[in-house]
Symmetry: C2
Subunit: 645 residues, 2 copies
């Protein structure tokens, strides 16, 4: 059954508000996450440090001044940054808007207003907004749809405006600016006008949501046109590039998997879900669900990371999931959550919040350092050599296991910021029957007639206690997500005996004020083996603990032992702090007769003495300084006795 | 002992003629390879098809017309191709020059002359030659040393002129043009003048050899300056790039390994060896030998291929040798041979011709198709999905296992052409004591007083029969290279009993006319295991046969069986045609309880029925049409019986 409800989008502070949905998200302010918990700490650091950090860098690099130059008529030959630098200001505005919706702050409100004013001044009379094209001395508007990012930039402008409108300021100047930009785009790219699409998908998801938020069906129609036009080879292909890079190789409804540039593919798919849902296009939806399943089953890392290749920041082939060169761009993690969230709202299927949890804890939480002022751009699962130095300037990709304050293409910090600021909107949902708890964090819920107190130290501890304070008149079912990895979870309702809770949904019906529900998910560390078609980690084993992927850091090994020269017996590890302890075995080197690292002698397991080591959460990687790291450790293969029969 | 000999370079038709050397190469015409053998066939196809093919494409794409436009004063805004397209004409000229030295041909001679005339007309009065910079409407000369490739281009001009001068035309117009270009470079970049280096190394190795060939010591001095200047951060770093890309991060004599862009690193090292040898710089030589050993031991594929990364066409970290994403650019194979050959000439060490053989048979021979009109650019060791279509136009990188006629960056076809045309110069060498046979092919040798007949069907067969017809007055030792992989080789001299020949050198002293030497290298297929620090192929095994790496192609598997779902018992395979037969075992899939390809269940070996399959030489990959392919196959791991004690 699909719940049809009228659009309450503008007044409901959620990132995604489909017209029809199985479930809908809660207001960003409806779940107040405790400041001490895993996510609460990160939201606080985001608010206190990251937002200002991003603004500082964009100011320093002149990306903000680009708007002033356009407003003042020049000098435009002094424009700095890539053609997509405008989008970073918009993503920061979106992060600020969610943060203001979550926790009002006059100083931030003032900063936000000033920024919007600078942006607004740069808007052309016809609604076009962009600092890199179309002004004296610049290339004409839309003269480089493949790589110019003009619609991509305005897409992020729309997303910022949606956040602003839905967090209580529907008449904000930003909203007005965004509506004029959207109107401009509809005129320029509507049916019968210019037949193009943007090389970097984003405008689709943005227009669809702007249509919902601002009550403009024609924005959705424009999103639909963009989705339908893609995959027909309309984009000129830059040198050494291919149409697959921007998903212009195959129409969305015909593709069998996500492919090409990972962030583009995921943004496009998110927008296509919005279009499919709001137009009732079941064929398109089925295609997107199929592509998601294929991608998750064959092109996704244990961390939830997507995009295997540094080259083109792209998905690889099926099973091409190298640990060491895993790109797993932070932004692709954010985009994967955007897509999974939309599919969840439509289907109500538990697989989507399962993947969201994995990605939140192991990609989104991995990128920012404790201080909120340094970030990983790529998130590999294996680093052979520790980076040597802290990075204090603009960096290319923060390779080498050291977080960097800013990047040449600095899309990740603002993407992390907008995700953390709006995080609580992904934690719960409601449907006809009641409330659904998707992600576990301590805090207070006050939404749709429900009032709950959630107590937990998750993911340090697997116990979650929910105290119901109030329930609505309608559906009073409390639904809990039992994670796919949970083994032996139990739920206790009030004074009744514990009930076994298998992965999937666990429903507590007829909840009343005063009901307490306790979920207990054992978080003992567990071994996880890769499908043996993933060549790059064949014969390896990882340790997970609850939602956390763990890793072995060189800093936790005795001096002289390399992370790349130990094996592990596939014996269940012991719990240790928020990680695990496991025994590893030094691996004897193969010494070749040749100069090359290939020999006629098969590798033999060593007889070295096993010793215990600590595995720590992957998201904490390199927090203690640059280290070598690995998630998968080779399984110890017993030496066969040549004398045995 | 180092043999000092006066420079006879101009009259000796070799690519490399150091002033002092342990050994020196034979004239390109001194070893006439039989047309029917492995390399003879390829040399014939190169002469008959590849040279004309390259010329056709460069004409079609306007790369030749670029020279006319410069000569005629415009219109230069119609220039086509990358800034380095000039170099392709020069590499083709070099290939033609070697071919003319190997087998004179009046038609080719005429084509060569016409090409040289077109090039010469474009030379500026002061000796500068380049079609992309410095003329009206173009950026100024040397305004983009990082990426402009001006010195790189002129380097290839010099190498072509060296080939021309040494194959009997020291007064050719090409030589005159090259000398004027070299003089220009010395004026522009000499001591006290411009302090720069070129982003793509090449001019170093070219100037060093031009200095030898033309008797101009100052060219060597200029090469020395370029080598010494690199690694000091003088090159502006383009966006998303790093100084390592062009080896500008660490001075050559301080580096511990090759790194960054593979072709650049290898060309630079080759030039640095030349400089070190001719200036007696033992410290620099020791550094280069150390870097070579490190690179070969930790950054080189079983095929001899170098350069693991598509991104930046670069070396990876130590042990970063993924089979599927192996870049192994054909040009890096050529460049690796250039470097190893120089180190061999200086040291006389057998490790260098060992690597040259591996690289010739498994990289250089792999690139061109049978017709000599299609090429691999990258040479991966694993292709999961067969390419769908033949490629008939300009291609990016010929990914997907289909050779392409031409590339956007089409450096490989002409590099293969110049290597095949000069190949016989790398097959033998002479030193104070006599003659050294390095690579085995049937043919006639006539050099330095030696006359030999070599009969063999190598590498189809391991028997090599050498009949000595004449020997010089001096050293009469015949030295044979016993390949590092050879197990059970024997040498029979005249009627004496066979002698065991272990890998390394085997010397037959006091050879006289009429002596026959038979080498018999058993070519049974053998298993080869990777060092277990190479994560990407851990637990895998490859099959080699003599100098050939073999591979499993999907076309040789029964319908419905994927190359990625079989394992192999580590049992010695049987010989079969020029490949091998081995039993493989279908591998049962791990089926996960989650949507992701990671499970709590360790992968289990299958109990499927083994069946025999054929492994074919890797260099023949995709000759029968697009197929999936792999070199390393997972070793079958026996299922442990849980009931066993």
């Amino acid at each position: 059954m699909v719940l049809e409800h009228a659009s309450t989008a503008v007044t409901r502070a959620v990132p995604v508000a489909p017209v029809t949905a199985r479930a809908h998200g809660l207001d960003v302010a409806a779940f107040r996450v405790d400041a001490e918990g895993f996510w609460g700490r990160r939201q606080a650091v985001n608010a206190e440090a990251t937002l200002a950090h991003c603004l500082e860098w964009m100011d320093r690099l002149g990306w903000l001044a680009n708007f002033d130059r356009v407003a003042d008529g020049g000098p435009l030959d002094e424009r700095t940054g890539w053609v997509f630098s405008d989008s970073e200001i918009y993503k920061l505005l979106e992060a600020m808007a969610w943060e203001l919706g979550r926790a009002p702050d006059p100083a931030l409100e003032a900063t936000f207003g000033d920024l919007v004013d600078r942006v607004a001044r740069a808007q052309d009379d016809d609604g076009y907004l962009g600092t890199a094209f179309g002004h004296p001395g610049q290339a004409p508007r839309y003269s480089d749809l493949s790589m110019g990012h003009e619609l991509y930039n305005m897409g992020h402008l729309l997303q910022a405006a949606v956040a602003r409108a839905r967090t209580g300021a529907p008449d904000d100047r930003l909203v007005e600016v965004a509506r004029r930009a959207a109107d401009h785009i509809c005129r320029e790219f509507g049916a019968g006008a210019r037949e193009g699409v943007c090389g970097h998908a984003e405008i689709e998801v943005a227009l669809a949501e702007a249509g919902r938020a601002f009550g403009e069906r024609r924005y959705l129609e424009q999103a639909r046109l963009f989705v339908e036009r893609r995959g027909r080879g309309s984009l000129p292909v830059p040198p050494l590039q291919s149409p697959e890079y921007f998903q212009d190789d195959v129409p969305v409804r015909e593709a069998h998997t996500l492919r090409g540039h990972a962030v583009r593919a995921l943004y496009l798919s998110a927008g296509a879900v919005d279009v499919a849902v709001d137009t009732g296009d079941d064929e398109l939806l089925a295609a997107l669900e199929r592509q998601w399943r294929h991608t998750v089953a064959r092109r996704t890392y244990l961390t939830g990371g997507m995009g295997s290749r540094h080259q083109d920041e792209g998905f690889g082939d099926d099973w091409e999931l190298p640990a060491d060169r895993a790109y797993c761009e932070t932004c692709a993690g954010v985009a994967s959550i955007m897509l999974a969230w939309r599919l969840f709202l439509h289907t109500g299927d538990v697989v989507y919040p399962d993947l969201i949890e994995r990605t939140l804890f192991n990609v989104v939480a991995t990128s920012p350092g404790d201080d909120g002022r340094s970030f990983f751009y790529a998130n590999p699962l294996h680093q052979r050599e520790a980076g040597a130095l802290a990075i204090d300037g603009v960096n290319t990709r923060a390779e080498g296991g050291v977080r960097a304050p800013w990047f040449e293409v600095s899309c990740c910090p603002t993407n992390v910021a907008r995700t953390l600021a709006s995080l609580s909107a992904y934690a719960l949902a409601s449907d006809d029957e009641g409330l659904i708890v998707l992600q576990y964090a301590a805090g207070e819920v006050d939404a749709d007639g429900w009032r709950l107190r959630i107590d937990t130290r998750y993911p340090d501890d697997g116990r979650v206690r929910i105290t119901v304070r109030d329930v609505p008149v309608g559906g009073t079912r409390l639904r809990l997500r039992i994670p796919s990895w949970a083994d032996g979870a139990v739920v206790t309702v009030d004074d009744a005996g514990p009930l076994v809770a298998v992965p999937g949904w666990f429903d507590v019906d007829d909840v009343i004020p005063g009901t307490t529900v306790e979920l207990d998910v054992p978080l003992h560390p567990r071994l996880t083996f890769p499908d043996d078609r993933i060549d790059a980690v064949r014969g390896g084993v990882a340790i997970e603990r609850g939602p956390l992927v763990l890793c072995l850091e060189s800093i936790d090994l005795p001096a002289g032992v390399s992370i790349d020269e130990v094996s592990m017996s596939p014996v269940r590890p012991q719990s240790f702090a928020d990680g695990a302890r496991a025994e590893v075995i030094p691996r004897r080197r193969v010494s070749g007769s040749e100069t090359l690292p290939y020999t006629a002698t098969p590798p033999r397991a060593t007889s070295g003495r096993p010793f215990p080591v600590t595995f720590v959460p992957y998201h904490r990687w390199a927090e203690r300084g640059p280290t070598a790291m690995r998630v998968f450790v080779p399984v110890h293969v017993l030496e066969e006795d040549p004398a045995a029969p």
